[in-house]
Every structure is written in C-alpha cells, then in structure tokens.
Subunit: 309 residues, 2 copies
C-alpha cells in the first residue's frame, strides 16, 4: 500500500498534486477494507519504553532511541500480516527530541511500506494555522489518521480533515480519572462525553466513505458497557478506536456494547487497540522475541473474532 | 537566568540531580519575579509562519526552517529586555519534522540564555507514561512551563508538575468556536470552562510559591469580560495566560476583568500574549525589521501598563 507523503515545506505553498485530499483514499474505506481483508479488528499500539525492551536489544543498541526504533521495526514486521493497523504513541518518540522525530518518521514509513494503516496517537488540539501545521506534520510522517482533542471546539478538527487525514476525536477515554470531566451531566441531559460524541457525529456527516462509515471516528474506551451503548447510539457512523481492552480492565461485554448494529458494518465499526499485552509479550528467556509478539497479536485477533461472533 | 536542562535519556533512569523538581524554581515565582523586574505583563508569542517572514530573511535562507529559526532568534534578541516571557508555538516547528525539532531546541535555548521565561505552547494532553514523556521532552527543550489540555482528567496534569514544569491548563480559549464546548452549562450550575477552572484551582493548591500564586496556571482568553470575572473568582491563585488581546478582539475592559483583586499580586496575575501584532510589526520597506519588532513589544508593554493602572 502506498500513499502520498509530501515533504515538509512552506505551509503557504503546499504541493496540491500528491497531498491533496482528493488524492487520498477516504480513511474509513482504507481502514475498513484492511479490517475486512484480514478479518481482524485489532490495532497494535506502539508505545515503546526503553526499559521494557528485550535485554539483548537494549545492550546491542548505541543509545535508547536506536533501541526503540529497532524494537518498533521488529514489532511492525511481526504483526504486519496479522492486524490491519498500528497506532504510534507520539510521546514515546518526541521524548528523544529531534532524533526521536527522525526515528518516528522512519518507523512510520516502514509501517506504510508493510501495508499497515498508520494512526498517529498525538492527541493534538489547537486552532487555525497551528492545527494546519500539526496536520501537515502528520501527513509528512505518513499517518493516515490522527487522534484529536476537540476541547477547543469542533471546528478545530477541520484542518486535519482538509489535509486528507482520518481523525479519532477523544470522546470517552479509558483512564479512571476521565470521569471527573467526561461523565459530568449537562443541563440538556447529555454527559460531556455525549456532547463530544454529537460533535463527532455532526462533523462526520460530510466525510462518509463508500462503506457508509465516516473518516471522523472517535476514541471510546472499553470500560463501561452502558456508556458504550449510549455512545454508539449517538455515533452510528463513527469508527471507534477502543483502548482499555485487556490490561486496563475492558471485557468482552464492554467491546460488544460498542459494535454497530448488525449489518451496518461487517467489522462492527470498532478498532480495538492493545499495546503492552502484545508488544511486551516476550519473556526474559525467549530466544525470539518477535515470534512472541507475533503470537500475541494472533491471540488478540482470535479473541476479538470470538467476541464479535 | 540558567536552569537545569537534562539531555534526553531513558525515562526509567532519569538523572535526579539537575532535573529534579526540587532543583527548579517554582514557576509562579519565576514568572512573577520577571514580570515585576521589567514591570511588564506581556508575553511574545513565537508562532512564525514562513510566508510572513521578512523578504530578505526568506531569500537569504537555504530552506524554510532555517529562515524560521533565524527569525525566531531575531525576535528573541529584540524583546529580551522588554518582556518577561516568550511562548513558543510547537506546531510551527513540528511542521518541519526532525529539523524543526532541532530548530525549536536551539531557539528555546537562546531564549533561556537571554534570560527569558520560556513557555512551550504544545497543548499536550495524555495519560500516565505518555504524559511523563511529553513532560520530559519539554524539560529537555528548556521550557519552564507548558500548556496542557485536561479533557482526559485533572490527574493527567500531574506528570508535568512532577517534572518541575509550570502548567497552563486550557480553561477558556479565545476562538469563537470554543463556546460549543466550553460555554455549555452543567447541571451543577457551572459551565464546562468553570468546571475546568475548579480543577485548575484544586490542582494548584499544592504548588504555591512564595508570591502566593500557583505554578498551576490557566489559559483564559480576553474575549468576554463577564466570563473572565467569573473565572478569576474561581481561580484567585492562578496566573492567567491570556490570548486574544488586540488582533483577536480582546479589549482593555476584557483584560481588567481578569486581574487578581488589588494587593493579591502586584502584576494582577495575568500574562498577556500577543504574537502577530508584535512579531510581524515590520513593513515591507523597513530597513531593520528587528527594530520594528522591538518597538511593537515596547508599545504592547506600555498599553498593558496603562490598562493595569
């Protein structure tokens, strides 16, 4: 799978040829096609932290970011034929300054070259020209979609869509503390998360693909089944990027609550992310850590197939 | 003014010596001391966009990011003895990938070396280890404070404070569209922005400096005086980072509504940011664009002194 990856240049003079939204496949169609081809709704989260990497990789690398890059490459190669997408945690690379940015660019290119759909988990949220810059940076890195925080207002999401990216708007996150903001009740009867869900649904109507789903998706944690059902009812055409399954306590029941009604999308419209349970699946004595990662990703795919029946 | 700037390294093995919060001055004390010394509540926003730079700078630079870096250096040198702080818009540098990150690091170091308080406007918002990574990246760049989005919950702000950074929590932004989220009413009588303000005030109680103000500040736009007064009442000990003055329509009345009660802080507890009106103050025929920037920053400082009486 190849797609346009323009190089950085003046924002005021974009090259319309390769970077134009028209030249890019609708993100919903891209990810749903990949999910259908592999019969898989799993997304591997690349959140590599140096002290959790295989010992031999750490000791054989000249510095931490090199070890992280080699590890990310190994994970990408291990899961490329098993899962449709990978999600890069931008912070894990930004931590290392310019060398980290360069490593992120190279590993995102490798994921593209391996045919994976690439999501940049950067949780950006800013207005006008700043949002345009963040979008341009994500496109230059080779991202097909980006996570976005819309606390500054729904129109702050537009620049990412104008750049041809899919977006996953942070609606309901899986960390416990999120209740202190997202679960509060508005006078109109909605929770704050449901208000954000309505913004995502409204924004999404102009970005539907041939599968009937939108390039405007939502981050919805797999932590409370009743919340999940309510959010799916408000966002029938949003693909849900779902953190929190497994390690963070999300159960099969919580996942089922997030699925689209039968027939709307054969995939159920969910992309379930798992990071630690897959990328750190190796043991200290494993001869081949990549094989352990590969098997963990296969196990995740099988579990999710069973859940979605 | 010098402060600890640790180099990137493994997150699991930070060097406690230079990077430890104890070794860093409380951010509120740092910025208030600088404001008092210069009798200035102005902050220059470095949001450089290539096509707005002086023509001779563009034509004499080998590439856009070099032009941006030279421009940012010139602005820093021009305003260093006039304003207490500069605010770097991260997106303007990230746009250029790894070379942009390297340029950001160099210009933030220059601002430090010139004695400026350095705010990284990155609007980051993530949980746990990811937030720790973003905080470590900001410290390594030489930031004294960072803007943070707390939609994921108030505790997601803790890692930045633990790293010794000041924070400005996004409470009420100055873009029109922010009403669609921040002005909505909760059943408990607060707006969404007021709820976020209460989180900032609560978080801030553990981070008071010797001036009586907190290292947990808030972004509060200068756009609606009545909203501003209500937010100041909820956040008496927060320093407000105030966008929207001038170019975006904020008036003297709007600024006055944000000041702390007389006597609480001699500075009024506000840091008013202006970008375009200062950094692009030169005309096409100006022989010395840096002189125009310097004069515009002096004008801003004078205006703000008059407003605050």
């Amino acid at each position: 799978m190849s797609h346009a990856k323009p190089q950085p240049g003046p924002v005021a003079a974009p090259q319309p040829s390769a970077a134009s939204p028209a030249a890019r496949l609708n993100f919903a169609d891209r990810i749903l096609s990949a999910m259908e081809r592999l019969q898989s709704t799993a997304c591997v989260g690349l959140d590599p932290v140096h002290d959790k990497l295989p010992a031999q990789l750490r000791s054989s690398s000249p510095d931490p970011i090199t070890a992280i890059e080699r590890f990310a490459e190994g994970v990408i190669d291990a899961v490329a034929e098993i899962v449709p997408a990978v999600k890069f945690q931008s912070a894990c690379f930004e931590r290392y300054g310019a060398p980290g940015s360069a490593a992120l660019a190279r590993t995102m290119k490798r994921a593209n070259d391996q045919g994976l759909v690439v999501i940049l988990d950067a949780k950006r949220g800013d207005i006008g020209i700043s949002a345009e810059h963040y979008a341009a940076a994500a496109v230059a890195l080779g991202a097909h979609a980006i996570t976005v925080n819309a606390y500054l207002g729904p129109s702050t999401v537009d620049p990412y869509l104008a750049a041809g990216l899919g977006v996953f708007i942070l609606v309901r996150t899986s960390n416990l503390d999120s209740d202190a903001v997202q679960s509060l009740a508005l006078t109109d009867g909605r929770t704050v998360a449901e208000m954000m869900a309505d913004h995502a649904a409204t924004l999404g109507t102009k970005h539907l693909g041939t599968h009937g789903m939108s390039s405007v998706g939502a981050v919805v944690g797999a932590t409370k089944a009743e919340d999940g059902r309510a959010l799916r009812a408000r966002m029938p055409k949003q693909i849900f990027l779902v953190p929190g399954y497994g390690a963070q306590g999300g159960t099969a029941k919580d996942i089922r609550a997030l699925l689209t009604p039968v027939g709307v999308s054969p995939t159920g419209g969910v992309l379930v992310t798992a990071s630690r349970s897959v990328i750190y699946a190796f043991g200290p004595n494993d001869a081949d850590w990549k094989l352990s990662v590969e098997r963990a990703s296969q196990l995740l795919v099988s579990e999710l197939r069973a859940i979605q029946g």
